[in-house]
């Protein structure tokens, strides 16, 4: 919402700098985003009068003018402009002046003739033809202003000296989308009187009763509707004061009638509309819901298909306006319009909002209606428009106002409880002071009740009243205190576990990443998921920004691969990354999907292979006190290398996978190096982690180590050998380490040799040779049962 300082001053005497005005309004709740002083950018431009125009002796397209600028001597100016005549009044940029685009004007010679300045166009002043409709777009701005003096500062001469403020108005304060609304806030902020003006309409023209018939069948959506007829309308440009103000408010001037409806909307906050009576079929206005298959071409020239939710203003046959949003083109004011119907009404905020959204049509009018308007403002606004029409001589206002009022007279009362307010805000303000603040805002206190004025629809409960007091008492004057009571804060067990995972990953040398939760359906193709794969069943966004971000991911592996790929393509030699990422899995039994937290790690680069990644994973699992984990080959995951992928299990419970990425997937993601992924379910990790850690005595007896070289089938996984040892060695077994796997010479074909170190220890004594041999024998026997022999 823009605000003209000059306009505001009609209602309240504020006499402070723009900066102070901004600061204080901001601190009382009307935030000023920025302000602009009109004409601030231009300097040393004055009103001049052209005394003579001579041909330039050396140039066909130039003329030499003598211009009176109020100095002792006239100045000589060379120009190429064609729209100049002797005696024209023009803006003259003197030597050393600045134009609105920052250009500096200095005296200079044009083809040998000295020019001491420049005559300006509208654009050079920072204006356009809609500000001065009589002027030309491309040529010197020839002034037709009365009462301007030669030599006068151009800004003063043409009324280009306003200050425009840009306010951020919050959705609850629809009333502040008007000059009067902001004037009320300013009056309360600066503790000045609010001077409201009561419009006076002479209304000399007569109306007969049938001139217009108003019916409101959609009572629920239109609690108040009023129109007034204006005859003998003369369409023309608006006078300067209207144009100036519209300009400062950021509204383009069109013609006197349209400008007046906009002027009143800006001043009162009440949108208005003018229909040409000629085009109102049957001279009747019906405020009704649209019928199916009806449509309307609005003022902007676009056609809108309507439905039964849309409230329209219709004549006997067809919609002539989309209520509260925009008028129809057909019935709009034209240059030859003779009789207008001026409308001022209240429409249901939700209906306007739905229509505005459905038809993608957001207007100054819809923005105001959807925030809720004050029905008591309709007639004053209508009168104000009529007053201006009479003032401008733009038409003859008829005496009768046609009103259909279905509104309920509702007076909002809120208990006035100064004790509550003082306690709630922790201030100490007397009842009287509070009442003063409230009365500045138009509230009255009667019998310990706050009577809320009808324009303040946002005030509903005692907190709202407390806020009004706080705003004008000053938020900054309220003391600051700390919370009382003995509370302690801490992380939950799960939160600590997540932190532990992060810390462990970082200690292992991985960088943490953050990726979007969105996926493109194309990424499922890149992952080689078959058409009916369960991971393709994703939560879909119905209004996505684009296909790229249209799904909520069912797997964060795709996000990781994108990041690995972008690092690879940025020529980063290696990447070791992890993320605690949510995956979203639709749930048939609930409206909301399951959100599963995953630990995803991704790697590529020199010296990184499956063993390296597995080593990191083992380090992590150990740190998390997850015991008895094992790795079982899995060749069935579409996006992983079928020969290099394992399920990670803990006591048969699935924790996740570790794998090399499938070569085709690498290609699909444009990744030129082998990449590895760890994907683990954080909840499964948590459920299988041991949190009951207790110290076990450090044993003083030495460990005994024995190496065994075994021969087994190539296909037998080493994990199986380890398992056999663990299951057969008994309680003295401390550790099994595999330190050599060999195939080749001296080993039969399709066999391999595996050398393991078995470490044994007793807590109570040094193991004897006998004990050791017996353990080894048990192990060897167990191997033999599995067709695994000792290498001789």
């Amino acid at each position: 919402m823009n605000l003209s300082m000059n306009w505001l001053k009609e209602f309240v005497d504020v006499d402070v700098s723009p900066k102070e005005f901004s600061d204080r309004m901001t601190m009382s709740g009307s935030k000023v985003e920025k302000y602009e002083i009109e004409g601030e950018k231009i300097s040393r431009i004055v009103v001049g009068k052209v005394l003579s125009i001579e041909k330039h002796p050396n140039a066909d397209k130039l003329v030499v003018c003598m211009v009176d600028v109020g100095a002792i001597e006239p100045v000589q100016i060379v120009t190429g402009a064609k729209n100049l005549c002797v005696d024209d009044i023009v803006p003259v940029a003197l030597d050393g002046s600045t134009l609105s685009d920052g250009t500096k004007i200095k005296k200079t010679k044009f083809r040998g003739i000295l020019s001491l300045g420049m005559m300006c166009s509208l654009a050079e002043l920072g204006l356009s033809v809609s500000d001065f409709p009589y002027a030309v777009e491309d040529g010197i701005f020839v002034l037709q202003e009365e009462s301007c003096k030669i030599g006068q500062n151009i800004c003063d001469a043409i009324g280009f000296n306003d200050v425009k403020f840009e306010f951020e108005i919050t959705p609850n304060r629809g009333d502040c989308l008007s000059v009067i609304g902001l004037a009320r806030e300013a009056a309360a902020t600066f503790n000045k009187e609010l001077k409201l003006h009561k419009p006076i309409v002479r209304a000399l023209a007569k109306t007969h009763k049938d001139e217009i018939k108003v019916n409101v069948p959609a009572k629920d959506l239109c609690p108040f509707y009023s129109v007034r007829i204006v005859k003998n309308v003369k369409i023309g440009p608006s006078p300067r004061f209207i144009r100036e103000r519209l300009r400062a408010m950021g509204v383009r001037s069109i013609n006197n009638i349209v400008d007046i409806t906009n002027y009143v909307m800006l001043e009162y906050g009440q949108p208005m509309h003018a229909f040409d009576l000629r085009y109102i079929d049957g001279s009747q206005i019906n405020v009704r819901r649209a019928n199916k298959n009806e449509s309307i071409i609005t003022l902007d020239g676009n056609e809108h298909k309507l439905n039964e939710n849309n409230l329209v203003i219709a004549d006997a046959k067809k919609p002539i306006a989309l209520a509260g949003v925009m008028g129809g083109e057909f019935s709009s004011v034209k240059n030859d319009t003779a009789t207008i119907v001026l409308e001022s009404a209240i429409f249901d905020p939700v209906a306007v909002r739905i229509a505005s959204k459905e038809q993608a049509l957001r207007t100054d009018s819809s923005v105001r209606f959807e925030k809720g308007l004050d029905k008591n403002n309709c007639i004053p606004a209508l009168n104000r428009a009529c007053e201006l029409i009479e003032l401008l001589g733009a038409g003859e206002v008829c005496s009768e106002t046609f009103i259909v009022d279905n509104s309920l007279e509702e007076i909002i009362k809120i208990p006035f409880d100064s004790g509550f307010i003082n306690k709630f805000l922790n201030i100490d303000l007397s009842c009287e002071e509070m009442k003063k603040i409230l009365s500045r805002l138009g509230c009255k206190v009667v019998d310990n009740n706050v009577i809320v004025p009808s324009f303040r629809m946002d005030l509903k409960n005692k907190n709202d009243i407390a806020e009004e007091i706080a705003r004008f008492y000053g938020y900054d004057s309220i003391p600051s205190t700390s919370l009382r009571g003995s509370h302690y804060g801490k992380l939950t067990k799960e939160q600590k576990f997540e932190q532990k995972i992060k810390n462990a990953m970082i200690a292992l040398g991985l960088d943490e990443i953050a990726t979007y939760s969105f996926l493109s359906p194309k990424q499922y193709n890149k992952l080689l998921l078959p058409p009916e794969h369960f991971l393709r069943n994703s939560v879909k966004i119905s209004n996505p920004l684009g296909e790229e971000t249209s799904l909520m991911r069912t797997t964060a592996i795709a996000s990781m691969l994108e990041v690995l790929s972008s690092n690879y393509n940025h020529k980063n030699e290696k990447a070791k990354l992890f993320e605690l990422a949510k995956e979203f899995i639709p749930n048939h039994n609930s409206e909301l999907p399951n959100e599963n937290l995953k630990l995803i790690a991704g790697f590529y680069g020199k010296n990184i292979d499956f063993g390296y990644v597995k080593g990191l994973l083992e380090g992590l699992l150990d740190k998390l006190f997850i015991k008895n984990y094992e790795f079982v080959a899995n060749s069935k995951i579409a996006y992983f290398h079928p020969g290099r992928c394992a399920d990670v299990l803990c006591d048969e419970v699935f924790l996740g996978n570790i794998a090399e990425v499938h070569p085709t997937v690498l290609e699909n993601f444009n990744l030129g190096k082998r990449a590895y992924i760890i994907a683990l379910d954080v909840k499964a990790l948590f459920d299988n982690a041991d949190f009951n850690i207790s110290y076990s005595r450090i044993v003083k007896f030495p460990a005994v180590n024995r190496d065994l070289s075994l021969i087994c089938d190539r296909e037998v996984p080493v994990g199986k050998l380890q398992k056999i040892i663990k299951n057969s060695a008994g309680k003295f077994l401390e550790n099994v380490t595999v330190f050599d796997v060999y195939e080749g010479e001296q080993i039969p074909k399709n066999k391999k040799s595996v050398t393991v170190n078995i470490s044994m220890r007793s807590n109570t004594a040094t193991l004897t040779d006998e004990q050791i041999n017996s353990i080894i024998k048990k192990v060897v026997d167990a191997f033999e049962k599995n067709n695994i022999t000792l290498r001789s």
Binding site: N172, N426, S480, R484, L510, V539, L577, E595
Partner: protein
Amino acid sequence: MKDQIEKIKNTAQKEILDVKTLKDIENLRIKYLGKKGELTTILKQIGKLSDNEKPIIGQLVNEARDFINYSLESSIKKIKESNLEQRLNDEKIDVTLPGLHRSIGHKHPLTIVLDDVKEIFIGMGFNIVEGPEIETDYYNFEALNMPKYHPARDTQDTFYISENVLLRTQTSCVQIRTMEKTQPPIRIISPGRVYRSDTIDATHSPLFNQIEGLVVDKGVTFSDLKGTLEAFIQALYGAESVVRFRPHHFPYTEPSAEVDVQCFGCRGAGCRLCKNEGWIEILGCGMVHPTVLKNCGIDPEIYSGFAFGVGLERIAMRRYNIDDMRLFYENDVRFLNQF
């Protein structure tokens, strides 16, 4: 015999002086003092001497042995010292050669900042609660006093899954869920991802992180809100931070405020960083709206509370002078390794 002893002593001394290695010393020890050594041989002959001579020669032999021993020991010491010196000299390396670098990983900058924020609030007695990112309209809007078609919904462009399910636009839904389950006193922060239908550019992202807080108890006042948030801001940005509260509107709080900190760049004078305002907006807050409390089964006549929300990316961008929000989600290792 005397002369013999004297001679042994002299030759031993000479030989010991010439010795270079510890092994040679050992050989000399054996030569003179060993079981068959020269001095031992003399000692073995003492028995044959007269009783008068015995003690004299015995003493001489002992003196000679002590002398040789002493010489051997000091020679050993010298050799060891010189050996050590030699070794230290030989082992000199170029310490400027690069090490075998092992890099520890890096937390994401957003995590670093979030951890700091959590630490501050845990210190003030808050717990951390998380909730679903895909939410129902009720928890994201209705319960927060934003019924369907409420104009305030416009300020949060929403991604919808269905008419009733959406991507949360704020983490306040977690506060509602918490209040439904827990009776006051409540002191929580709820950090997490939120979604708004904003096109990606340097300062906008369809996904970003928020930290919202909620306090509900008997007798919680607006001045508690001010004190708590001032403490938070000063803990985060330094004790010298200047904070201002200015009235604002949120449907779920009343009174509401926006909180600005005086611009770090210009100390309030106005500069490019603060768009000439002198202040930088950093969070929104307010006293919990009585309707919101009621919606959650908490009696607003007994309890009051405050709520606040702050954007994590914005804090991180300011702390690290990051001018493009996209960097957080691109995850280039050259970016990640800077934190």
